[in-house]
C-alpha cells in the first residue's frame, strides 16, 4: 500500500459502505425524535454529546492503535487509575497550593503524565518485549484496576469539596453554550482525522496494519510508530480523565468499567478494520455517537423491558457493521 494510492483514496467521495454507520446514526436520530419530543432539545443533545466525550477521545486514540494492528484492553482501568492518582495528588497539593487555577493545572499535568507513562509501558512491552498486545494490555488492565481499588482502600477516592466546586465548570460549562467536553472531543476528532488522512504518521499506521513486514522493508520504523500509537492513546486517556473527574469528583474500582470494549466497538462500528490496515477517525466518532444514542433512546422511550436493553444494543451494533460490510461486497 503506497502513499500515493492512499492519498487518491482519501480524495474520492466516500462510497456507500462508508456511509453505513452514518446512515445508522441518522436513523437513530429520526427514531429518537419520533419517540420523544425532548430528544432534540438542547439539554438532551448536550447531555448525550458530553457523555460521549470520554469514550470518544479514547476511541479516537484506539483507532490509531487498531489501525496499526494493535489493541488496548487497558484503557478503562487506566482511566480509573489516572483519575484516582489525579484526585489524590490534588488533595495532597491542596494545603500547599490552595484552591485555584495552578492546582487544577497541576492535576491536569499529572493526569497527562501518568497517561503518557501508562501508554509508554504498554507500547514498550508490545514493541520491545514482543508480547502480544492482547496479553500485555489484559495484564495492565488488571494491574491498573487493582491499583485504583488498593489506593481507594476498596472504597471511593473523592476530590476535596472546595476544589471540586472550583473544577466543576470544566465539565458543566463551556464556550458559546457548547460544553467543554464536547469542544475538546471535537478538537481531538478533527486533529485525529487530519493525522490519519493527511500525515505521514497516519499513513504509516495503515501501512503497518496491513503488512508490517512490507512496511519495515519500506524503511518505516515500525516499532517507533507502534509505540507512538500507544503513547498517543495513553495521553488521550489522560485527557478524557481530565474531563471526567470534574463530573462526579470521585474514582473507585468501578470507574471506567468496560470503557475499553465500548471504545473498541465504536472503532469497529465506524468502519476501521479490527485486523488493522484501514482506519477511519470520523467513522469512530459516528460509532461513539451511535453507542450513546442507543442508551439515551432506551432511557427516553419505554420501548422494551429494561432487562432487554443489552440485547437491543447488541442488535444495533451488529446491524451497523452488517450494513457497511453488506454494501461493500455488493
Amino acid at each position: 500500500m503506497s502513499d500515493a494510492a492512499l492519498r487518491t483514496a482519501s480524495f474520492r467521495l466516500p462510497g456507500l459502505s462508508a456511509l453505513g454507520p452514518l446512515l445508522a446514526l441518522i436513523l437513530l436520530v429520526v427514531l429518537g425524535a419520533f419517540l420523544n419530543d425532548n430528544f432534540l432539545s438542547a439539554g438532551n443533545v448536550t447531555n448525550v454529546l458530553a457523555r460521549s466525550a470520554f469514550i470518544g477521545m479514547i476511541a479516537v486514540g484506539m483507532t490509531f492503535v487498531i489501525t496499526s494492528g494493535g489493541l488496548d484492553l487497558s484503557v478503562g482501568s487506566m482511566a480509573a487509575f489516572i483519575a484516582g492518582v489525579m484526585i489524590l495528588a490534588m488533595n495532597a497539593l491542596l494545603p500547599a497550593m490552595g484552591v485555584g487555577v495552578p492546582l487544577i493545572l497541576a492535576g491536569m499535568a499529572i493526569a497527562l503524565a501518568i497517561g503518557l507513562l501508562a501508554g509508554l509501558t504498554n507500547g514498550l512491552l508490545v514493541t520491545q518485549a514482543r508480547i502480544e498486545p492482547f496479553i500485555v494490555t489484559l495484564g495492565t488492565m488488571g494491574i491498573f484496576r487493582s491499583l485504583v481499588t488498593w489506593l481507594a482502600d476498596g472504597g471511593t477516592i473523592s476530590l476535596d469539596f472546595a476544589v471540586r466546586q472550583f473544577y466543576r465548570p470544566v465539565y458543566y460549562s463551556g464556550l458559546f453554550g457548547v460544553a467543554w467536553p464536547i469542544l475538546v472531543f471535537a478538537l481531538v476528532a478533527v486533529a485525529g482525522q487530519i493525522a490519519m488522512r493527511h500525515t505521514r504518521f497516519g499513513r504509516y499506521c495503515e501501512a503497518i496494519g496491513s503488512n508490517d513486514r512490507v512496511a519495515r522493508y519500506s524503511a518505516v520504523s515500525v516499532d517507533r510508530v507502534r509505540l507512538m500509537t500507544y503513547v498517543l492513546l495513553g495521553l488521550l486517556v489522560g485527557l478524557a480523565t481530565i474531563m471526567y473527574v470534574p463530573r462526579l469528583g470521585s474514582a473507585s474500582g468501578s470507574t471506567g468499567m468496560l470503557w475499553e470494549l465500548e471504545a473498541i466497538a465504536a472503532v469497529i462500528i465506524g468502519g476501521t478494520a479490527l485486523k488493522g490496515g484501514y482506519g477511519r477517525v470520523w467513522g469512530t466518532v459516528v460509532g461513539v455517537l451511535i453507542l450513546s444514542l442507543i442508551d439515551n433512546i432506551l432511557n427516553l422511550a419505554d420501548l422494551v423491558s429494561p432487562y432487554l436493553n443489552g440485547a437491543i444494543q447488541g442488535v444495533i451494533i451488529v446491524l451497523a457493521v452488517v450494513l457497511q460490510r453488506g454494501k461493500s461486497s455488493a
Partner: protein, 321 residues
C-alpha cells in the same frame, strides 16, 4: 470432692467473667481457627464490608487470644472455591464464615466443609440447598424496599410522581423493588420510570439526566443505593432542579449519612443495608467458640430508616464506605 472443685472452678470463672477481668472459661481452652471467605473490594459496599471484616477480626483476636482467623478475599467464584479448599487442606479450620460470591457454585464446596464436621456461618447470600449452614446472617432486602416505600407513602401526596433507579438485574434487586412497589401500592403515587443504574455512579448519572429530559415534573427519586444517589444528585444539580425533588438512597455510605446529619433538604433520609453485617456474623460465630451461648439459627438484620435524629449511630468516618 471432685464435684466440689468443679463447682468452685466454675464459680471462679463466672466471677471473673462477671467482673470483666478476663475472658470466659471456654476461651482459655484450645486454639480455634476460623476461616473467613468474602468477595474482594470491587465496589463501595464490598469495600466497606472488607474494612469491617478486618476491623472485627483485629478486635476479636485481641479479646479472645485463643481465636485465630484466616481471611481470604476472592475476585471471582473460582478463586473463592479454591480459597475454601485451601483453608480446609492447609489451615485446618474449625469454622468457616463465608459470604458466597454466587449461591449455586459455592453450595457444594461449603457443604464439604460442613460434612467434615466444621461450623459453617453463611452471610448475606444464601446457599442453593437448605440446611447446610449452622448460622445464617443477612440483611433484609424486602424490608429495605418496604421501609423506603413507607417513607415515600408517608411524605408524598396522592398523584405525586417519582422515578426509580434499579440495581444490577438480580433476585436481590427484584425483592427490593417489589417490596417498594407493594409499600406504595394504592397511595396514588405514580412511578414514572424504573431503569437499571447498576449500583454505579456514572450509569446513575446518565439515567437521571435522561429522566430529567423526559419528565417535566418529578417529586422524588428512589435511588435505592448511595452510590447511585451521588450520581443522581449531580444530574439534578446540573439541571438546576434541586428544589423540585428529594432523593432517598440506600446502604448507609458515610458521605450520605453525614449529609443527613447536616439536615440536607435534598437527602431527608437513608435506608440501611449495613456492610458491617459481616461483623455481626464474625462476632456471633466467635461466641460459639468462647462461650456456651446457643448461636445456631438465622439472624436477619433489619433495614431501618436513618433520619437526622439517629444518623450519628450509623456514621463511621473511618470506614472507606
Amino acid at each position: 470432692m471432685e464435684r466440689r472443685t468443679f463447682l468452685a472452678t466454675t464459680a471462679l470463672a463466672a466471677a471473673a467473667a462477671a467482673a470483666g477481668l478476663s475472658v470466659p472459661a471456654a476461651a482459655q481452652g484450645k486454639k480455634v481457627t476460623i476461616g473467613v471467605s468474602i468477595p474482594s473490594a470491587t465496589h463501595g459496599f464490598m469495600g466497606g464490608l472488607n474494612w469491617h471484616a478486618q476491623e472485627t477480626i483485629k478486635r476479636l483476636k485481641a479479646t479472645y487470644p485463643n481465636l485465630d482467623f484466616v481471611l481470604a478475599t476472592a475476585g471471582a467464584v473460582g478463586k473463592q472455591v479454591n480459597d475454601i479448599e485451601d483453608m480446609m487442606a492447609t489451615r485446618n479450620i474449625d469454622a468457616l464464615v463465608v459470604l458466597p460470591f454466587e449461591s449455586e457454585p459455592l453450595t457444594s464446596p461449603v457443604k464439604a466443609v460442613k460434612d467434615a464436621g466444621k461450623w459453617v456461618t453463611v452471610v448475606d447470600r444464601g446457599l442453593s440447598q437448605a440446611g447446610i449452614e449452622d448460622l445464617y446472617v443477612a440483611g433484609d432486602n424486602t424490608a429495605f424496599g418496604r421501609v423506603a416505600g413507607e417513607y415515600f407513602r408517608a411524605n408524598l401526596k396522592s398523584g405525586a410522581k417519582i422515578v426509580v433507579l434499579r440495581g444490577i438485574p438480580t433476585t436481590l434487586d427484584n425483592e427490593r423493588v417489589d417490596a417498594f412497589r407493594k409499600a406504595i401500592d394504592g397511595s396514588g403515587i405514580e412511578i414514572l420510570d424504573a431503569q437499571h443504574g447498576n449500583w454505579n455512579r456514572d450509569k446513575a448519572f446518565s439515567v437521571m439526566q435522561d429522566y430529567l429530559s423526559k419528565h417535566k415534573k418529578i417529586d422524588a427519586v428512589w435511588a435505592a443505593d448511595d452510590d447511585m444517589a451521588i450520581g443522581v444528585l449531580e444530574a439534578i444539580a446540573q439541571s438546576g432542579r434541586q428544589k423540585e425533588m428529594w432523593v432517598v438512597g440506600g446502604a448507609g455510605m458515610k458521605e450520605i449519612v453525614k449529609r443527613i446529619m447536616d439536615k440536607d433538604p435534598q437527602l431527608p433520609v437513608d435506608v440501611t443495608y449495613p456492610p458491617a453485617l459481616i461483623s455481626t456474623a464474625l462476632e456471633i460465630t466467635a461466641l460459639r467458640f468462647v462461650s456456651d451461648t446457643p448461636v445456631y439459627g438465622r439472624f436477619i438484620i433489619g433495614s431501618t430508616l436513618i433520619t437526622p435524629d439517629n444518623a450519628k449511630q450509623f456514621y463511621f468516618p473511618d470506614s472507606p464506605f
